[in-house]
């Protein structure tokens, strides 16, 4: 048992558990979170698949009697790793379980010669933030989680040459350089996700850009966007006005937009509100090929 642990646990690879068991432990670790974000088994399975979570390298903290006390998952993409779904059930915190889980995930990545790790932590979750700092993660910036309610009437789309894009065309755009994106918004997340399509607009003044998104049954989500020419806020407004005019009855949930993203004014102008913030943290140096993720 590592020295910092004051409770007897074993870290068991997550693939030894059913998706229902993993869902249960994940939800139990979040019951007292300010933003709990519970999941059912289907949503967790989709999450694992979309974000390349490797259950063989993810871990569950278990007591000798088999009680599950915590979980931590590891996403793997070529030379990058991502820590996610880390949590310990409330009455067993401050016994070193979170520390043991993070240390083991870092070891798992190191075994694969992966030295660059990413994660996001909810802003003001001080214990988790401190834990990651202790393990050498550093703050990169703040990320916004935005919502737009379907009851907000869409404004007429601004005059532009707008083209709807099918999945293939959207995938072509998503692979283009968008700078270093948070894990959830990297190309692979879109490639793994279903119901991806896109929109491209060109304005009379020559401005142009594109938006790729996921349209689920009730929600628009998972946005990637780029202004190719012109003012980003203007191009984003054109894109969003067309999108919401097209889908006036869908709720919208956009995750992990960087706080200094120049497209943001258009989101607020069209009725998006901030739900909460995350802090993005990195450990190590991004690999060179990462710039196209």
């Amino acid at each position: 048992m590592p020295a910092h642990l004051t409770i007897d646990i074993e870290l068991v690879p997550a693939h030894h558990f059913t998706i229902e068991q993993l869902t249960a432990i994940y939800n139990q670790t979040r019951v007292d979170y300010m933003v709990p974000m519970p999941m059912n088994a289907a949503r967790l399975a989709e999450y694992i698949s979309t974000y390349d979570v490797d259950l063989r390298r993810s871990l569950v903290a278990v007591t000798p009697s088999g009680e599950m006390l915590g979980v931590a998952m590891l996403g793997l993409r070529s030379s990058r790793a991502w820590i996610t779904r880390l949590g310990v059930i409330p009455n067993t915190r401050r016994h070193g379980i979170g520390q043991a889980l993070v240390a083991s995930l870092i070891d798992q990545a190191a075994e694969l010669s992966i030295n660059f790790m990413m994660l996001e932590v909810i802003k003001n979750n001080t214990p988790a933030h401190q834990l990651f700092l202790k393990f050498g993660f550093r703050e990169i910036g703040e990320l916004l989680i935005l919502r737009r309610a379907p009851r907000i009437p869409p404004l007429p789309p601004i005059v532009a040459d707008a083209e709807r894009l099918d999945r293939l065309d959207a995938m072509d755009l998503i692979k283009r350089d968008r700078g270093i994106q948070p894990w959830t918004n990297q190309s692979e997340s879109f490639i793994n996700a279903s119901e991806i399509s896109g929109l491209r607009v060109a304005l009379a003044d020559g401005s142009r850009g594109w938006l790729v998104y996921q349209r689920q049954k009730f929600i628009l989500t998972r946005f990637a966007f780029k202004t190719e020419v012109g003012d980003p806020a203007t191009v984003a407004y054109a894109l969003l006005s067309h999108l919401h005019y097209q889908y006036p009855r869908l709720d919208t949930h956009v995750e992990n937009i960087q706080i200094h993203d120049p497209h943001l004014p258009a989101f607020y102008r069209i009725g998006y509100v901030e739900a909460f913030r995350r802090i993005e943290m990195w450990r190590g140096t991004p690999p060179r090929q990462f710039s196209f993720c």
């Binding site: 979170y33 519970p38 059912n40 289907a42 737009r148 009851r151 009730f218 909460f276």
Partner: protein, 124 residues
């Protein structure tokens, strides 16, 4: 009898609400996820809906949007139950058409019941 639909996924929280309302004479019905909550709302037409914002299938904001689309439920008060910071909750309540919110954890039964009574009176 006044009927309240509670949509809350955490059993302990649901039990807390059940206990708090046990002496009021209100009938409490309960769903643990958004899809079941929508079905129960349509089937029972409750007088008030208490809606947790964090649900395992679709979150409370999305469900509030569905509920508001249903003509039979259009006037039913929907109250958000949440531990989010008040400033954020106010934004969500206004944006998504909730009729109000109650902050979790529910620690004072009398205050909680008074809040419920007040929402029922405002939306008879």
């Amino acid at each position: 009898m006044t009927k309240i639909l509670l949509i809350e996924d955490i059993p302990d929280n649901a039990e807390l609400v059940r206990r708090a309302l046990s002496a009021t004479g209100y009938e409490l019905i309960h769903a643990a996820d958004a899809e079941t909550g929508l079905q129960m709302a349509l089937a029972h037409c409750p007088d008030l809906i208490l809606l947790d914002l964090g649900l395992p299938d679709y979150d409370g904001q999305t469900l509030a949007g569905w509920l508001r689309e249903e003509p039979a439920l259009n006037a039913t008060p929907i109250i958000a139950l949440t531990a989010w910071p008040e400033e954020t909750v106010r934004l969500m309540v206004e944006s998504y058409g909730f009729d109000g919110y109650i902050c979790k954890p529910i620690t004072k039964t009398r205050v909680f019941v008074a809040q419920i009574n007040s929402y029922l009176k405002t939306h008879p």
